[in-house]
Amino acid sequence: MAKKDKDDEDFRPTGTIAVLAIFVVTLIAIWATIYMILVGRGGTL
């Protein structure tokens, strides 16, 4: 069975949060840009 290393217990994925924060900001920026193109091109009904 997996032996528990002491480092593993203490491991806090703070770097992961940093990576994902960058990702989310990029995601929102790109998504919003394309959404604004959609809104700018007007209705279809």
């Binding site: 069975m1 997996a2 491991f11 992961t16 940093a18 995601l27 394309i34 091109r41």
Partner: protein, 549 residues
């Protein structure tokens, strides 16, 4: 502790999958750069006339060989390896798996003949009423049936293992492989029904016409989960192998990795209508519902992003990495398998962003069938998946053949060149799409191309050239490795990342199959039942076939 040994026969069997896969990639990828050059105005097609009649015959070869053959063969080989190695037992019925493999090979040949004879220039989506020679549909059917048979072989092996080991948590790589094979069985029902009930009898002249709207609906029943069939083996490697290779890291959470595989199985099929937002014959209510469920698939994707990055961070910290981001530099970038998969993962973030945008219901009006779409899926299937598979082959081929990887430094360079070429190629394709450029058009010749597209079209060509260099290096490395006289001294170690949590604490319900399978089927009935019922009730087989290429 010595690792479990595969027999020579087993290694050969898995290796044959790789051989067909890499040969397909070699031929299929040749056309990618040619298409990109055409976009830039460098038209090589006139010189190909003796063999390839048109841009579209080449595009059919490119789509079929890359997206369908390279992926399916690599995946079936890799899953077979994972099941045997993970469960530490041979296949329950190796003959069955061999039959499956040969059915697939015969299928590829049967489909290739009409494609090369320009009798099936229908692209890899084969939308009717474009009508290919019947052998094309027979070939596709055999590939699918062969992959089913191989899948059954894997299920039987897993079941036999379970009988022998009633109360143990299943090894992750075997578990994840069997879920992937299961997803494939469920999702391919769509094209199986499409071909067997409409396209094949129609191409044989038994029925006069087809219903194109119904055909599209069957096709996309398969078409969306198909992308998860491609992705899950790459995820498997990112979850359970890459952290080990990148710096002896552990898998951050075995339970969540399993949970995400189950959620993919349950959610990836009943959302296929997100490819049909702008179809005339599907009601907006169903389209909207499928878009909201598609957002649901964002959860296992984000869970995967978290778990994989955290496992890599664990590896980076073990290598002495510090800071919020500097640990990334401490991963084993010198290992080509690691470099390829990390770069694939980085571009997949952008592939995911494009995917979410496409899936956002009416936002699709901006993107549908524009160059944005190939821009998007060259980040996903052609990079996240393909570059990861290349990375896997950098250890798997030496493992299977006992021959040393030829020029590992070149292999690292190959990954970086792919990464750079793809950034240039894909970025310009995305922008072209937003400017309104359509896909599946030889844009170098199209009469309506405004001047503002030209600089981007040029970049498509530049990206294609760089990708061509990278692809050539990859194929050279594979060939030279297969022929390498230098043998490895000890069997290559299979990289397996341990779980950070004790796996005996993985909840039992993550190792039960029935509830998830019923859940998947139940959701399909709910999300597709009424749509298909209406369409089949009102079926109009009024479209005769056309050969207009």
């Amino acid at each position: 502790m010595k690792q479990y040994q595969l027999s020579t026969g087993e290694k050969k069997f898995i290796g044959s999958h790789l051989l067909v896969a890499i040969l397909s990639l070699a031929v299929g990828s040749l056309f990618g750069p040619l298409q990109a050059f055409e976009h830039a105005g460098w038209d090589f097609y006139p010189y190909l006339r003796p063999w390839i009649k048109s841009y579209y015959q080449g595009l059919t070869v490119h789509g079929v060989l890359n997206a369908l053959v390279w992926t399916t063969f690599f995946i079936m080989g890799f899953l077979t390896f994972n099941v045997i190695f993970g469960l530490k037992r041979p296949l329950k019925n190796p003959t069955l798996n061999k039959v499956g493999f040969w059915l697939m090979v015969v299928g590829v040949v049967a489909a290739a003949i009409p494609i090369l004879a320009n009798q099936a220039t229908v692209l890899f989506t084969f939308y009717p009423p474009l009508k290919a020679n019947w052998a094309f549909y027979v070939g596709l059917t055999l590939v699918v049936v062969g992959s089913w048979v191989e899948g059954w072989g894997l299920f039987m092996t897993f079941a036999a293992w379970r009988k022998e080991n009633p109360n143990v948590t299943s090894p992750f790589i075997a578990f994840a492989s069997v879920v992937t094979a299961l997803l494939w069985q469920i999702c391919t029902l769509g094209v199986a029904v499409e071909i067997l009930t409409m396209l094949l009898p129609w191409s044989l002249g038994l029925i006069e016409g087809v219903d194109p709207q119904l055909a599209r609906t069957y096709f996309w029943f398969t078409g969306h989960p198909l992308v998860y069939f491609w992705l899950l083996p790459a995820y498997l490697s990112w979850y359970a192998m890459l952290p080990k290779q990148a710096g002896n890291g552990k898998m951050f959470s075995d339970s969540l990795a399993r949970l995400s595989f189950w959620v993919f199985l349950v959610l990836s099929t009943p959302i296929g209508i997100h490819h049909q937002y702008v179809d005339p014959g599907v009601s907006p209510a169903w389209k909207f519902l499928h878009s909201m469920f598609t957002f649901g698939v964002f959860f296992p994707s984000m869970m995967t992003a978290f778990t994989v990055v955290a496992s890599l961070e664990h590896a980076g910290r073990k290598n002495g990495g510090k800071g919020a981001l500097a640990w990334i530099g401490k991963l084993n970038w010198a290992d080509p398998s690691v470099a390829a998969q990390l770069l694939a993962g980085i571009l997949f973030f952008f592939g995911g962003i494009g995917g979410l945008t496409n899936a956002s219901y009416n936002v699709n009006l901006v993107l549908h069938n524009t160059a944005f779409i190939p821009g998007h899926f060259h980040l996903t299937v052609a990079t996240a998946v393909t570059l990861s598979f290349m990375g896997i082959s950098y250890w798997l081929l030496p493992y299977l053949t006992g021959r040393k990887l030829w020029q590992p430094k070149w292999a690292v360079a190959q990954s970086w060149i792919w990464f750079i070429g793809m950034i240039i190629f894909s970025n310009s394709m995305h922008v072209l799409g937003l400017l309104g450029a359509p896909r599946r058009v030889p844009l170098g010749l199209a009469p309506y191309v405004p001047a503002e597209w030209n600089s981007r079209l040029f970049q498509v060509g530049v990206g294609g050239a760089i990708l061509f260099i990278s692809g050539s290096i990859y194929l050279t490395i594979m060939l030279m490795t297969a022929l390498n006289k230098e043998k490895v001294t000890e069997e290559v170690e299979v990289p397996i990342a341990e779980s950070m949590q004790d796996v005996s604490l993985t909840p039992v319900w993550l190792d039960r199959w029935a509830p998830w399978i019923y859940g998947a089927l139940g959701l399909i009935v709910l999300m597709y039942g009424p749509v298909l019922f209406e369409m089949i009730k009102n079926i109009a087989l009024t479209s005769p076939g056309f050969r207009v290429w």
